[in-house]
């Protein structure tokens, strides 16, 4: 406990200092981190007899020294009971089409709204509220059939027309609009009472992935949503729990939907729990203490420091369980390849060679928790490529120094400096104490070559994002090297396609694709082959073909290094020992679900044992 107290004090002091900076210098800070990398593994895997209730999962340990958690859920599933869940943040709003929804929010949304599709343990997508979905030959049309007899919490029946009416609202939503564009969705038509036809402007074999996301996939009652403010105060979905009340910044309560359509493998109606109270507790230490003290039964965390603290408590005898998940979200950073000297691959590769990844992970507090990153996918992902992992430049001081010397002594060097003059650049991260420590590691090694001068800067999350976005200069951004996070556990196309599309109109024009510009290409890296591979992966639904294309992309990234990686992101739901069912939930087909990626629980099959 005293170790953990020390850690908490240090973090609080750092947060206070950061807060003071914000006020004093308008350069500010908060404890957010758009960039850092906290990592973990808890790949839960079931041997998968779907009829069997007790699931012993988490078979495969990812390689490396990560202490992979193996959870077992045993005992009879019990209906009834209440849970209090501590979340890291309050959600901005209750409207999936309008409000940003990160991990904390998702935990609440998933109780109120069913999704049309859901991801499985192997990263595939299966129908959830839909009963089936089929594409046409070129993936420009998808015909789905809804389950019958489903009603919203206000008693309104769910039909295909509901989805059409939802689409009209989604087209105006600040969150849904971007997903409509990204998925190529153009039309939604009711072609039967329960049959809906999605028309796409471009082929997209990964379209079902978008129907598993909040912005397009979560089903809300369009009639109620006609008044967005009223809906925000009393949201209506078809989910396993119905909204009861919300006390902003304090508590959101959902209660069992007695008419829910879902049942478990034994035919018992879901959900098991009567009520869940979600409480935003921003301080990591307090959130864990709340669970240790019985104030809450679950603590949600995206921080490896908290995972380490929770492990310490558990090993010290606390009766808690860690449901850990090492996702594909990978920490690291990006070089702005439109800005010298990062327009030269020698500099980028040199700096990756000069980054001792293990030491960086240690500085981030991730040793034994976070696996080293080498690509867009974690070793637990079905998309992971051994070849890409082998190709990623490893720490090699001499090789890095040699590349820097080559650049520095090149009369044609891109930064316009004189031959022999040191390279100068800015490395910027949010003011998280662990990130600052990690920056120092890179700084020490790189500057020891005596070939670079690095200006380390820290900005709060919003400023950090703004600098990377660079809306004021045509989305080029003013940054040089910038901490960031990449990828997630959705279909790869969801994050890869916008990240490697042309970043500016000029580049798009030159590439002959003037209509495709993506502000989300933060590194400003564009390569025709990468772009074509990313597009190609949305033209086929053959897994092996798609995997080969994503492998090619990751191999190219290892060659051109517009990004660097620290480690994969560990997340966890820390529960008291009675909470069961977070890893063993199943889809209607009996297929095992994805567990709790990004600390997002599926609460409909959780029970208190």
């Amino acid at each position: 406990m005293s170790e953990r107290l020390d850690g908490r004090l240090a973090r609080l002091l750092a947060a206070l200092m950061a807060f003071a900076l914000l006020g004093a210098a308008c350069g500010g800070s908060d404890d957010g981190d758009a960039a850092p990398a906290d990592e973990e593994t808890a790949a839960e895997e079931s041997e998968g007899d779907a009829a069997e209730e007790e699931v012993a999962e988490a078979g495969d340990e990812a390689e490396g020294d990560v202490d992979t958690e193996i959870e077992e859920e045993t005992g009879d599933r019990v209906s009834g009971g209440e849970l209090a869940v501590g979340l890291e943040a309050e959600l901005p709003g209750m409207r999936p089409w309008e409000d940003t929804c990160a991990s904390a929010c998702y935990n609440i949304f998933i109780t109120i709204y069913d999704k049309l599709m859901e991801s499985t343990e192997t990263g595939q997508y299966e129908p959830w509220l839909l009963e089936s979905i089929e594409p046409n030959e070129d993936f420009t049309q998808w015909v789905g059939t809804l389950r019958s007899g489903i009603t919203f919490h206000n008693g309104v029946e769910l039909t295909a027309q509901s989805l059409v009416d939802m689409f009209a609202i989604q087209q105006t939503g600040s969150q849904s609009q971007s997903q409509i564009a990204a998925s190529n969705l153009a039309t939604v038509d009711a072609t039967g009472d329960l049959e809906v036809t999605y028309g796409l402007s471009q082929p997209n074999s990964a379209f079902p992935a978008y129907l598993s996301r909040a912005q397009l996939g979560m089903v809300f009652e369009p009639g109620a949503a006609a008044d967005p403010d009223a809906f925000n105060a009393a949201p209506v979905g078809t989910g396993p729990f119905a909204f009861e009340s919300r006390d902003l910044d304090n508590e959101t309560i959902v209660v069992r939907n007695a008419d829910y359509w879902g049942t478990d493998a034994n035919g018992t109606q879901l959900p098991y729990l009567d009520k869940i109270s979600f409480r935003p507790i921003p301080d990591e230490g307090t959130r864990l203490d709340a669970t240790l003290s019985g104030t809450t039964q679950v603590a949600h965390t995206l921080r490896q420091n908290t995972i380490r603290d929770a492990r310490t408590e558990r090993d010290g005898g606390a009766e808690i369980t860690l449901f850990e998940f090492q996702g594909s979200n990978v920490g690291g950073g990006m070089f702005n390849v439109l800005v010298p000297p990062f327009d030269d691959v020698r500099v980028r590769k040199a700096l990756v060679h000069l980054t001792p990844q293990d030491q960086v992970i240690e500085a981030l507090g991730g040793t034994g928790i976070s696996l080293p990153g080498s690509q867009w996918f974690s070793p637990d992902s079905p998309w992971y490529s051994e070849a890409a992992a082998a190709a990623w430049p490893q720490f090699d001081f001499e090789a890095g120094k040699a590349l820097l010397e080559e650049y520095v002594n090149d009369p044609e060097r891109s930064d316009g400096k004189a031959v022999g003059e040191k390279i100068e650049y800015e490395l910027s991260c949010p003011p998280d104490p662990t990130l600052i420590a990690a920056m120092q590691v890179g700084f020490e090694v790189a500057t020891s070559t005596e070939l670079v001068d690095i200006n380390l800067t820290n900005y709060d999350q919003q400023t950090h994002i703004n600098y990377a976005l660079g809306a004021e200069n045509g989305f080029v951004g003013s940054h040089g090297a910038h901490c960031w996070r990449f990828s997630d556990d959705n279909d790869p196309s969801v994050t890869i396609n916008p990240a490697f599309a042309p970043p500016t109109a000029e580049i798009a024009e030159a590439a002959g694709i003037p209509d495709v510009v993506s502000p989300l290409n933060f590194a400003n890296y564009f390569d025709g082959d990468v772009f074509q591979a990313a597009v190609g992966a949305t033209r086929t639904d053959n897994f092996e073909e798609r995997k080969a294309l994503y492998e090619a992309i990751n191999l190219k990234l290892a060659e051109d290094v517009p990004l660097w990686y620290s480690g994969y992101t560990a997340t966890a739901l820390i529960t008291d020992a009675s909470v069961q069912g977070l890893v063993s939930w199943e889809l209607p087909s009996g297929t095992l679900g994805q567990g709790m990626p990004n600390a997002e629980g599926r609460w409909h099959q959780v029970w208190i044992g």
Binding site: T100, D283, L292, D460
Partner: protein, 317 residues
């Protein structure tokens, strides 16, 4: 008295104007685009959407125009709407949170006074002897330890170890007095410690001075008990400084609950302010800042006026 009141009111208006202008200027100059915060990183798929949101939020207007628009509405009580929790008026946000923060501040002040007066009186009465040394040392420690550290310690002791009190969140008074007390007592105590130290030092030094006064010597000569003299004769004149500092500190507490509310996840003004800053919710930042400033200035004005009422010398001057 009317003249004093008039001058105070004029000063109040000038101060509020300066506060609103400066806070509007500072929050508007914060780097980070509220439109980006509204959309989230994933939402920024194209420039048009970003421009649309900026237009919707009125962010394309020049700063003076935005301030004038805001001020025009603010004087009628309309502090605008949250950028992030769309449709929620800032005034409503403040109104919902005042009871929480005010309760914490009041409880903290009460706890601080209840501890500070005995400690201060004891220190003065036993000046330079061990009880004085003890009370001074206790006050020194309380003053030196930041309130969030006290908070962490309290959570560890009363929640994790003893399991007597909830570690976080808030039970509203309407949901039960005992439940409310259980969620309020630790954060209020954490807030109270620094105040207690300041108050006890003030009471001690004022009372030491008071105890040298002739009327105290006269009371002693009349054979009154020490306890009677301390509590009936010496305490009241020794409380003038305490009263002034109470006013100042109450205002400061309203704005100073930020860290404690965040630590204990209490839905007060401070917690909302922190969220608003991280989300670049400028209307909420502005609204809460102005509200705290208004309370601070009004409370201090009232204390000044009360001071004049209590002490005829000040009134006459």
């Amino acid at each position: 008295m009317a003249r004093v009141l008039g001058i105070r009111l004029l000063r109040l208006v000038a101060t509020l104007f300066a506060v609103t202008f400066l806070s509007f200027l500072m929050t508007s100059l914060l780097p980070g685009d509220p439109a980006v915060a509204v959309l989230g990183v994933e939402g920024i798929q194209n420039e048009e959407l970003l421009l649309e949101v900026r237009e919707e939020l009125g962010l394309n207007e020049p700063l003076p125009v935005r301030y004038a628009n805001w001020l025009g509405r603010a004087v009628t009580g309309d502090l605008g709407e949250s950028y992030i929790n769309r449709g929620v008026p800032v005034a409503q946000t403040i109104q919902e949170r005042i009871p929480v923060t005010a309760q914490l501040a009041v409880m903290a002040i009460v706890i601080a006074i209840l501890l500070a007066i005995p400690l201060g009186v004891l220190g003065a009465y036993k000046e330079s002897r061990w009880p004085d040394t003890f009370s001074s040392a206790f006050a020194q420690v309380a003053l030196s330890v930041p309130n969030f550290i006290t908070g962490i310690f309290l959570i560890w002791l009363f929640s994790v170890t003893l399991r007597w009190l909830p570690a976080s969140n808030w039970t509203r008074l309407s949901d039960g007095v005992w439940g409310n007390f259980k969620t309020a007592i630790m954060p209020a105590t954490a807030l109270a410690m620094t105040q207690m130290a300041i108050f006890s030092r003030l009471v001690r030094s004022d009372m030491i001075a008071t105890l040298q006064e002739n009327f105290v010597l006269a009371a002693k000569a009349k054979g009154l008990t020490d306890r009677f003299i301390l509590l009936r004769h010496a305490l009241r004149p020794s409380s003038l400084s305490l009263m002034t500092i109470l006013g100042i500190n109450f205002g400061a507490l309203l704005g100073g609950t930020v860290v404690i509310e965040t630590l204990f996840a209490i839905p007060g003004l401070g917690f909302r302010l922190i969220n608003a800053i991280s989300q670049r919710d400028i209307m909420v930042i502005q609204g809460i800042t102005v509200f705290i400033a208004v309370v601070y200035v009004v409370v201090n004005t009232l204390v000044d006026l009360l001071y004049a009422v209590v002490d005829p010398r000040i009134r006459r001057s």
